[in-house]
């Protein structure tokens, strides 16, 4: 194909540079003309896969049943830290219906996240994988687990973050338990603190949040002797394929990963899990399809979490500005190999001139963290935005005014690159109006009865979300004029199929109901992980280019069929139009018979000289019962600056969902671990409390809705993570406004509220 070029692109996120190659062709499309009214983009559209979702016919991994399928279950360590000395599986193997047992002494090597095997010699948390059984049914597999005899040598453990960073804690790794995870210096914070008129200092704690995606992690693997096909509930089919390649050493051509529908991920389903490898190993070994799906309990032990943090933050102020910042954070990464950075917002959100930040990863005998919707940023924003409110109060400046002074800059303070588009001040204006900021009073106001206090607070959001290469798509015409879009992305629940169809529809002039979108299959063109708020901004532009390519090819073919020059033709609402004559696409397609027109598109690199970010602000109104410690969030106004909105209805849904999940983080959700036993006491949905329908306040969603025309050919940026970032901070600030005491702990359950009010003996 002519005109293919390879370009390298560099994208920065949190100071880390991500390089990628993309293969591009011709030229990128310009963004849609300013003010152009499009038929689909910008319009609220019902989900194209809505019927599947409301009828129960959508196929999730849990629903995949294959003839002869076996059920695998995993034996997990009952100890927080132990050496596996010996395993006796004789009794388990003798159980009728048991077809195979895998453990560290018999399993083939299978590389997994830097380790050679999926069954460790030293198990490091309750829930760590020790062995696996495949049996005719799940009950038999479960019974077999109980028959496996393991000799453990118990080792000292530590699960608590603050205990793990003390000198007396058992050292879990050669380097101890605490590892540097990034630092930043800007200006001279030390001198600035000396010079400051006001200094506030606080220690903030956030709890471990469990994803609790309703569909647990799991995979069904089938090996036909040639190709391994794996159905997996995942945010990245290509990531799973790569994980299986590394573990099983199969060529990519012989691995296919499918995720048609998935029941939530929130960051935790980024690649192959040990369960995928277990299912695949058994499938290859036993020649039968194998399912390995985690139970809710396993899910909450071994499938990731948002790490608990301990953060110390100090701000100095002078002349009505924030002049000095020091922020140090420790995160309980469990057995995780990486850690999110809670100082990210401090580093990037405001134009702080003098700043030092440090972030530490702390290893403990608890389940590994995994990305959880805006990892680090939710936790860090909770501390930073409260500290700013505290300083503002000390300085006698309106907290919003203080933020405005530092949020106006049009340059990324971290990279000094100009932003492609930043309308944060507009977010502040809209939000302040919607919440009634002018009615906010220092010290709060009286609530619905004398012992109830009402307060208003706000928090600010920064996140990436610019997306980028590599992402590819194809668009092809069927002989009846219908269109199929293929992209290797997957729908985590945001409505990916729908927005891609809308983009394609506008480019082709073909109605939405004649377009089908096929995703979630590694047999399609490569697509990135559905995480990091990057799907739409990465895949959308590629679909647009693929649609254009398909259109051009189709017009070329139509020119031949209709015997006119291609330049005289255009595509318009399902028709080929030339000099007043209209021929339906279907008619032309039919004449083309089965000569499939396939358009290809790829995501072009982001502009290197610009910083592409998303911004937003949340405003919360709360009422606090000062005698029972109950917090009622009455209203949240969420305003986001994420470029163009492709589908206002699904965008609003995402914001509502982000706010609600954030309210869980802020008010009810906390993994509770017994330190002595190392056990998670609430690895369930009974005591781990995710919000219910009754926990939802009035939520007002607003967008600045200006295309970021310099970001990509859609002018759209991501929205997955932004709405979970500032809510907890806004609520905490509102609570502080209401009751005059600051809660530096999430979740803000009645206990800490009453303690803060000094009502607890």
């Amino acid at each position: 194909m002519p005109g293919l070029r390879v370009v390298k692109s560099r994208d920065e996120f949190e100071g880390e540079i991500f390089e990628s190659l993309s293969i591009i062709q011709g030229s990128d499309l310009p963004p849609h003309a300013a003010g152009a009214e499009l038929d689909e983009i910008g319009k609220s559209r019902k989900r194209v896969d809505g019927v599947q979702r409301v009828t129960g016919r959508a196929t999730y991994t849990q629903d995949v049943t294959l003839p002869g399928m076996l059920h695998a279950r995993v034996l997990r360590s009952p100890y927080p830290r132990a050496r596996v000395r010996a395993i006796d599986t004789k009794k388990a193997e003798a159980l009728p219906g048991v077809r195979g047992v895998l453990h560290r002494f018999n399993a083939p090597k299978a590389a997994f996240r830097g380790e050679e095997t999926i069954f460790r010699e030293e198990v490091r948390f309750i829930g760590d994988e020790v062995a696996a059984v495949a049996a005719d049914d799940a009950d038999t597999a479960a019974r077999a687990l109980a028959l496996i005899e393991v000799q453990y040598e118990l080792l000292p453990h530590v699960t608590d973050l603050e205990e793990a960073i003390t000198d007396g804690a058992p050292k879990l790794e050669d380097g101890g338990n605490v590892f540097d995870a990034g630092s930043l210096k800007r200006g001279d914070a030390r001198a600035a603190f000396k010079d400051a008129e006001f200094v506030v200092e606080g220690t903030y704690r956030t709890s471990t949040q469990l994803h609790n995606s309703l569909e647990s992690h799991g995979a069904v693997a089938q090996w036909d002797g040639e190709v391994l096909t794996v159905w997996e509930s995942t945010q990245h089919v290509f990531g799973v394929r790569e994980g299986l390649r590394a573990a099983l050493l199969l060529p990519l051509s012989r691995i296919r990963v499918i995720c048609d529908y998935m029941g939530g991920g929130f960051g935790s389903k980024g690649g192959a899990g040990k369960y995928s490898i277990v299912a695949s190993l058994f499938a290859k070994q036993l020649g039968r399809p194998v399912r390995c799906v985690l139970t809710r309990h396993e899910e909450n032990l071994a499938a990731g979490n948002r790490s608990a943090t301990l953060q110390k933050i100090r701000l100095g102020g002078k002349d009505g500005r924030i002049t000095a910042v020091d922020h140090v954070s420790w995160s309980n990464a469990g057995q995780g190999r990486w850690v999110a950075n809670p100082t990210g917002p401090t580093n990037t959100l405001y134009d702080f001139a003098n700043l030092t930040t440090k972030s530490y990863r702390v290893v403990t005998n608890a389940g590994s963290l995994s990305a959880f919707r805006a990892p680090g940023y939710v936790e860090g924003t909770f501390a930073l935005e409260q500290a700013i409110d505290e300083l503002a109060e000390r300085m006698g400046v309106d907290p919003l005014t203080l933020r405005r002074r530092h949020a106006a800059a049009q340059k990324d303070p971290r990279t000094t690159k100009p932003y492609s588009l930043k309308r944060l001040l507009e977010c502040y204006t809209i939000g302040a109006r919607e919440i009634g900021w002018s009615t906010r009073r220092a010290g709060g106001t009286r609530g619905s009865s004398p012992h109830r206090r009402r307060g208003i607070g706000m928090g600010t959001q920064i996140w990436g979300g610019g997306g980028g290469p590599p992402a590819y798509a194809t668009v092809h015409f069927n002989s009846d004029g219908t269109v199929v879009v293929r992209a290797g992305t997957q729908d985590i629940g945001t409505g990916t199929r729908t927005v891609l169809a809308q983009i394609c529809s506008d480019e082709l002039g073909v109605d939405l109901d004649r377009i089908s979108v096929r995703i979630g299959d590694t047999e399609g063109p490569y697509g990135p992980i559905s995480a990091g708020s990057l799907t739409l901004a990465s895949v959308g532009p590629a679909v647009r280019l693929a649609a254009r390519d398909a259109r051009e090819q189709f017009l070329g073919a139509a020119a031949g069929v209709l015997e006119v020059r291609k330049t005289e033709l255009r595509m318009e609402r399902g028709h080929i139009v030339s000099k007043g004559a209209r021929t339906s696409i279907a008619e032309v397609s039919k004449k083309l018979e089965n000569n499939t027109v396939i358009g290809k598109g790829s995501r072009w690199p982001n502009p290197e000289k610009l910083s592409i970010k998303t911004f937003g602000a949340h405003f919360a109104q709360v009422e606090v019962d000062t005698l029972t410690g109950e917090i009622v969030v009455e209203k949240v106004v969420a305003v986001h600056d994420i470029g163009r909105i492709v589908n206002p209805m699904t965008a609003e849904s995402q914001v509502q969902g982000g706010v609600i999940q954030a309210l869980g983080f802020a008010l009810t959700e906390e993994r509770v671990v017994d330190r002595a036993l190392g056990r998670v006491m609430n690895a369930d949905l009974e005591w781990y409390k995710v919000p219910t329908a009754l926990d939802v306040p009035e939520i007002v969603v607003r967008f600045t809705d200006r295309p970021d025309r310099r970001a990509n050919n859609l002018g759209a940026k991501g929205l997955g993570e932004p709405p979970i970032i500032p809510t907890a901070a806004a609520v905490a600030n509102a609570v502080a406004n209401a009751i005059g005491v600051r809660l530096r702990h999430a979740p803000m359950t009645p206990a800490p509220v009453l303690e803060a009010l000094a009502l607890v003996r």
Binding site: K46, R47, G50, V51, Q52, R53, V54, T55, G56, R57, A58, T59, Y60, Q62, D63, T65, H211, N212, S213, L214, E215, S216, Y261, M262, G263, G264, F266, T295, R296, I492, G493, T494, G495, M649, T650, E652, S653, Q654, Q656, G657, G658, V659, I660, Q661, D684, L685, E686, V690, P691, T692, A693, L694, V696, I699
Partner: protein, 169 residues
């Protein structure tokens, strides 16, 4: 003791027993042990996978189905205890290919995200509208308080429910 033997119904199981019930308006029979849940019966032998398994403990609502018109959690209901009862699942509420008005409303109001809790939510709303034609918004919210949605689609779920109620369910 003779009197015991003649006057009480026999225990069935613990191995598989025959169970017959009505599912979505049709007679259904299955052969499975009394330890099995209604959810296992639906998703396994009956192949009705629209009803979801999430917690298996009655803590989430994803497995909500109607038994004799009342919403219950099928994951903690014994299949054998549903002998002779009328069970309705998400697969049974759309008739002749036409969506139930509650399903229509869910689509119209974007009352889902990942969709995993959706069948359970729909069943809870359907049950409420059968019991109460014109519920208040608070009643609607309480009707789905036993159905967790981790994506947080509650605002639109309540909106969809109210809209279906206005349309006369």
């Amino acid at each position: 003791m003779l009197d015991t033997i003649e006057s009480v119904p026999p225990f069935r199981g613990p191995d598989a027993v025959d169970i017959s019930l009505t599912v979505n308006g049709q007679g259904a029979t299955a052969h499975l042990p009394p330890q099995r849940s209604l959810l296992e019966l639906l998703r396994g032998p009956l192949g009705l996978t629209g009803t979801k398994l999430v917690c298996n403990a009655g803590d989430c609502g994803a497995c909500t189905v109607l038994v004799d018109d009342r919403p219950i959690y099928s994951c903690i209901t014994l299949a054998v205890a549903c002998e002779g009862k009328r069970v309705e699942t998400i697969e049974g509420i759309s008739k002749d290919g036409a969506l139930h008005p509650v399903q229509e409303a869910f689509i119209e109001h974007d009352a889902y995200q990942c969709g995993f809790c959706t069948p359970g939510q729909v069943m809870s709303v359907v049950a409420l509208l059968r019991a109460k034609g014109k519920p208040t918004e608070d009643e609607m919210r309480r009707a789905v308080a036993g159905n967790l949605c981790r994506c947080g689609a509650y605002v639109n779920i309540v909106k969809a429910g109210m809209s279906a109620a206005r349309r006369g369910k």
